[in-house]
Symmetry: D3
Subunit: 131 residues, 6 copies
């Protein structure tokens, strides 16, 4: 009945350990963070979420720093405290400087403002943007 999380490596099932091992190896970290230890309450969600994140945040046309900054901008918009803390750390690790953080927040704040100005002024889409 009680919440069994967080699940540390020592207490984890083989299925959960396999995911932890892959996270640690892929990210080159000594331990997984709380997000994974809490998700481990549901091994299927733990595995599926990790596989999706591994694929989405892995090598592609967007560099890792850009992806982390977008992740942070979304988390700031949604007001997810844990996500803001963890992705700020991840973005810094990927190279985000103080100046970049400042600009990222400025864009994120402005977008949230103009999104509402558009709503309130009921602006119709320009034909040029329809395509």
């Amino acid at each position: 009945m009680s919440t069994p999380a967080p699940i540390d490596y020592a207490d984890a099932s083989p299925e959960v350990r396999a995911v932890y091992d892959d996270i640690k190896k892929t990210r080159n970290v000594p331990d997984v963070n709380n997000f994974w230890k809490y998700l481990a309450r549901d091994p299927a969600t733990l595995r599926r979420t990790w596989e999706s994140i591994k694929e989405i945040m892995g090598p592609g046309t967007l560099d890792p720093l850009t992806k982390e900054m977008v992740y942070l901008a979304v988390s700031v918009t949604n007001g997810c405290g844990y996500c803001i803390a963890s992705h700020t750390a991840a973005a810094r690790k990927a190279g985000m400087t103080e100046a970049m953080f400042g600009e990222l927040m400025a864009v994120t704040g402005m977008a949230n403002e103009t999104n509402r100005l558009v709503n309130g002024y009921r602006v119709p889409i320009d034909p040029a943007f329809q395509t």
Copy 2:
């Protein structure tokens, strides 16, 4: 009583025209889009919004494409149809390819998902992220 927007250049006051002129010159476009023509109902908001956007989206440490993609990610998160249409167009103009768009949407969607998993599992912030 009726809504006087959109305000076209020909019908605009000198104050509004000055903003339109600066937008057209700064962005090198022949006309301003609907967002500005609707905001022109309130010249003070038109001017202040343009000055803020000009400063925020102008030269800095983040390149224009990254800024437009962040703007798009926030607009997608908030579900602002006009903003999604206009910033998709702006991001493409700044160099966003189909592959980049696909990755941007994948990151944006994933962030919205994990933001809620964190909420639901009530994950406490790791000490390492507190700083």
Copy 3:
């Protein structure tokens, strides 16, 4: 299986008609708007929602115009198109001028921006605000 809304007065049950009659009398209007005609699919929700709104939007310490402007600010924040249209009309009817609308949108937009700056900069609550 098909959606039976909107339900016009002529087709309404006595229970639904009683709510429609009270709305028309309270607001001094010849007909109810679509919101009520769609809610009428569930007479219990129609009645409960009307009773709550009648009480909340009725006479109190806040004047009707202030209440309508708050309603509009929330609807703009949530991006509810129908609600923005109907409460803009209601606010105008209650006395909202173009200048007031402009200021209301400016405050609403700014609040949405600074809400996110606070999130991103992880600002702790000042002791003076804790009470």
Copy 4:
């Protein structure tokens, strides 16, 4: 000037006590939780909110567990910490198992993700869904 909440039973007015009594009787609990003790600052809102919740969460075609899980999914989507804590407790009391919690979070997370993919890809509604 100071916030007079929470209002305990011993300090409550007869009007507030009547609501507390009905909550305790309806839910068969020895005391009301903080939500009600804070709402009691405004007796009219306390009474109206309780009457609405009593009606909505009471017997109907959806069983109590389903209603609590929907309440939790909405609270997780909105990121309301108190609501997540109280409705997780209520859902468990109504029979939510660990497996059900895991699936509920998975659906909630996925819906938040695909809601944004739909926004970003600007997917038009299929004619078959229009009705």
Copy 5:
């Protein structure tokens, strides 16, 4: 430069067709809906999203109708028009009656209201809910 969606079966790559075939077979439908035809712009996201949804919405401890109603409640909270239309259709197909829809909307609306009352009254979590 132009948006290449929707991608119909006849124009789809073998990779995309394989996903379409699995959707059609799993759901026993003659064609996939617009969501998939638009996601097909990015085959990796199409495949990953389908695999996640197939797993999450498949057999488990929660019945298909409950899952669809939770999906709908989240979509209504986020205001995603396409998602509301498609998941209302899916919930009906899974057995949602008019009475169930009415109760689902009542719970969803109420949760969105009390989430904000909790925020505004700054209600602290009861010790009993901390676990």
Copy 6:
């Protein structure tokens, strides 16, 4: 690499001090609150945000109390804890009584509920509201 905020007056650059001085003079307060001390990490955002807020929250057709209550309603809708605390304090300072706070929360809560009922019932805009 570490977060250099909050920046107190004694440690602030002349550029930041100039903003702090203007805030203190405009609001007639002995010190600025945390919001400004954290924003000071990015002097350009500090200055721009203050200038916008000074203009928006300054004298106009809407009185200061109404503006603060709208700010609070938006912050409650978005669930920004810091903003709720600081704007509740500001609204009280501007004259918000307990009765006004109660009504403001009631309207804010109700708007969040009916915004979702409108979404779920897919209510089309009445022709009378189109203008």
